[in-house]
Symmetry: C2
Subunit: 500 residues, 2 copies
């Protein structure tokens, strides 16, 4: 079966076991791997490397598209293989390693993460591991369920290990659109003028001599977690959908809206599912990841086109979509992440971006990454690629969590990834704050009164009132600004009075 | 003399005094005015409006390109004319009005500031005031020393007042390049592929029926303040120029570097002047403002092309350049600010951006706007338009000021406009921190040890060490993080021990 997937003459002789491939790695190497939101990642070689490290200790810099699946980052962390990791992760074991300081983590805008390789800011990539659907006659590599940074990795790497994943159906052929802007000073325009514009090729060009090993795998992607809609997520989605309907009435939007970007997470997913119910049609997505909700919308005839860098879905959805992919292919484009997340295209298309906040302060500054201002959750991902250049930048969050112990609206954000300038709309289950055209003092009133949880609203208003007495464009009481976080650390709740 | 500047038949009859034009304004109007970094602003009508307001009180929303000159914002503030002001200002009287809360200020990315008008997010523009060099036969308006948001203002306004400034030489004809991307869903590509690419017209199209008054003026732009290089700015420039030379040696840059953007301020200007001395040549600028240093570099044959939205120079430079503008014109392009500051072009051209920070924290988050975290200085301006999309984002600042009482490197920035993700290089007179490819804990060591002032270095290191013990990707002690600012407010110095 693998023979039809290695069309380049002579390459078959480079088939190796994962263990053999793993023996190619040396201490201090810079390693790049495919994988974006757990899709299209290395299933065999990185795991084998973790195993091998027990006997042959080594430390590498590992760069990916975005997150890996299958607990691979955790295995590598436990085996002390990771010296530095970039640009994103979602693994609890790696997260712990990052927060103890054992693993250096560079948290990057996903759309910019190929640049430090392309511009030779970091040492050259020694080995790239690329999951592939097939290798073409000319040696070019067809990716699987994600494109990510693979074109940049393949161009930069001295050696390439290809993992051909036999479980991914060949019907994916043709879904990818590989385009490179090239190098300065002749960087090309990205000529995408609607979400579905195809501008590139179906495979990534490669010098076949660089392919040092081919490993066969049959493991499917880690499935996305299914997050059922609950009352809170339903309410958040409801507020946002109502807002879109009002914008249509005001003549600012059409029922097709503008190309949608939706982050990962149950709230963002609930919003997308919400489009099933409203009077929206001919929707498009220009996003970084295609999730279950997109396929539901395609099935319902609501979504015409979804462009992204990866497909990350639940097991059920995976089975349904990939057993009948020819049906979905006309609606899907998979792009490199510097194209899916390109400032140029996002601004041109007027994307509506919807991302999840960890916390938002009363002026609309959003923390997307750091728990308590210090501990990394996942990373900034593409949130600011989209929020910074979107026509409409929406952030969503429940107003509180942990039984009310944490308010997600705080006086001052303990870490800021998306500044007030890049946050147009904030939504919680309580309501929506449309911050466009408003000065900070106007923003504060809306955020507190429309979005905050009732248990925290009075104290936020008190803070704001007192801060205004001290004056300023963005009034704050610096000695109290971060006290809610300190209080949580001390008392286990941000509430002023601990409930008995 | 004015006749040759009103080429459209019939428009001469609309010449009015500034006072007559000022009588057209009504309470609650949305008013837009040309003006960008004090260049090409309204010289007569806004002043007359401030005067008229004493007898006829009114409050308006005033939108400009960027800052106005001639103390106009101060006069309007004193006359209580400003209800809301956007997107930028540099006026001490207005600044006070903003910080007391009298004037609502919306601090915007300059490159995005036309969007809330184009997309009808705020109420329609009632009157636009546009300084012009001349009105063409077809009614189109040629701007003067800045383009700013004038094309958007002219397109959106119900009524237009043109101030024809007879002091600006007609030799400016042809320096402007007016281009609009148009509206969604047919927004056009911005086809600029080098700093000098001309893609538009020399004048702004207008429906001549909208021109309700023409006012003649002869006042030149407010001159830029001359900031002589001192030891600190010279040292900062020196570190940065040495860095560029090393990058050339490493093969990452050519002696022509990449298109330069330089913010306003004595440090940024000193860096630009520094290019006179080094082995750099065939430089280009893709910036928002062209300052004295650019003309010095053009005179020296070092700078081939400067593209921006305005020319803001000292009186000496003004006299020299505008008395002989035909000599400089081939080297200059003036663009609308949504083109000069376009994410799309800045990324494509690989701009090197150099901006001034108010403060930077140990992880590289930059405060560009707020004194003490609360009080507005000027505004974010174009700093994040450039820093977010630049090939290389440089921020500069002295390590300390006020005789050492203020450290510009602090544990945590009291306000964040440019996040760690968008700050590649930080420079003070003490040295340079190249933060590319580094995790926060690595960044902190470089910033503290290379950039901080000696008087604060130990305490910063102590803070960082203690914070690391508490763990995290971005270690902080939240209860101490902002204590330096509180200390300054209390003791007048950030120093732990007050010197006797």
């Amino acid at each position: 079966m693998y023979k039809e997937r290695i069309k380049r003459t002579g390459l078959e002789s480079r088939i190796r076991t994962a263990e053999e491939a793993a023996s190619l790695f040396r201490d201090k190497m810079v390693v790049a791997s495919s994988g974006f939101t757990k899709a299209g990642d290395s299933k065999a070689v990185l795991k084998a490397l973790a195993t091998r490290a027990a006997a042959h200790p080594l430390q590498i810099t590992l760069i990916t598209g975005a997150s890996l699946g299958h607990g691979t980052d955790g295995l590598l962390t436990t085996a002390h293989v990771l010296h530095k990791r970039m640009p994103f992760q979602v693994d609890p074991v790696l997260r712990h390693g990052i927060n103890t300081g054992e693993v250096l983590f560079m948290d990057q805008h996903l759309g910019e993460s190929a640049e430090i390789i392309n511009e030779k800011i970091i040492p050259a990539v020694d080995i790239a591991i690329i999951e592939a659907l097939q290798i073409n006659e000319d040696g070019s590599i067809v990716p699987t369920t994600s494109v990510g940074n693979s074109p940049a990795f393949i161009a930069a790497a001295s050696k390439i290990i290809v993992e051909i994943n036999l479980s991914v159906p060949l019907s994916l052929l043709g879904v990818h659109d590989i385009f490179s802007t090239g190098s300065w000073p002749d960087k090309k325009i990205i000529p995408i003028t609607n979400a579905g514009t195809r501008i590139g090729t179906n495979a990534i060009a490669v010098d076949p001599e660089k392919i040092v090993a081919i490993v066969l795998t049959e493991t499917t992607d880690s499935p996305a977690q299914i997050n059922e809609r609950d009352d809170k997520t339903r309410a958040i989605a409801g507020h946002l959908l109502q807002f879109f309907e009002q914008e249509i009435k005001k003549g600012r939007l059409l029922p097709s809206l503008r190309p949608l970007q939706s982050g990962i997470g149950k709230v963002a997913n609930a919003v997308m599912e919400g489009f099933m119910d409203g009077n929206f049609h001919d929707l498009t997505m220009y996003s970084e990841v295609i999730q279950d909700s997109a396929f539901h919308l395609i099935d319902a005839g609501k979504l015409n086109l979804a462009s992204a860098s990866s497909i990350t879905v639940s097991q059920d959805c995976y089975n349904r979509v990939f057993s009948d992919f020819d049906r979905y292919k006309p609606h899907i484009v998979l792009r490199p992440q510097d194209i899916s997340n390109a400032a140029e295209v996002i601004r041109r298309l007027g994307v509506i971006s919807i991302n999840t906040a960890i916390e938002c302060d009363i002026y609309g500054n959003v923390n997307s990454t750091h728990i308590g201002g210090t501990h990394m959750m996942n990373g900034i991902g593409g949130s600011n690629d989209f929020a910074r250049n979107a026509y409409l930048s929406v952030f969503v969050s429940p107003s509180s969590s942990k039984g009310g112990a944490i308010s997600h609206i705080v006086p001052m954000a303990s870490h800021i990834d998306n500044t007030e300038h890049d946050v147009d709309i904030f939504v919680t289950e309580n309501g929506i704050a449309d911050l466009r055209g408003l000065a900070p003092r106007e923003r504060a009133k809306l955020i507190i009164n429309n979005c905050a949880h009732a248990s925290y609203r009075d104290e936020l208003n008190d803070y704001f009132t007192e801060a205004c007495k001290a004056g300023g464009q963005t009034p704050h009481l610096l000695q109290e600004a971060l006290s809610w976080h300190a209080r949580f650390k001390e008392n286990g709740t941000m509430l002023r009075t601990i409930p008995v």
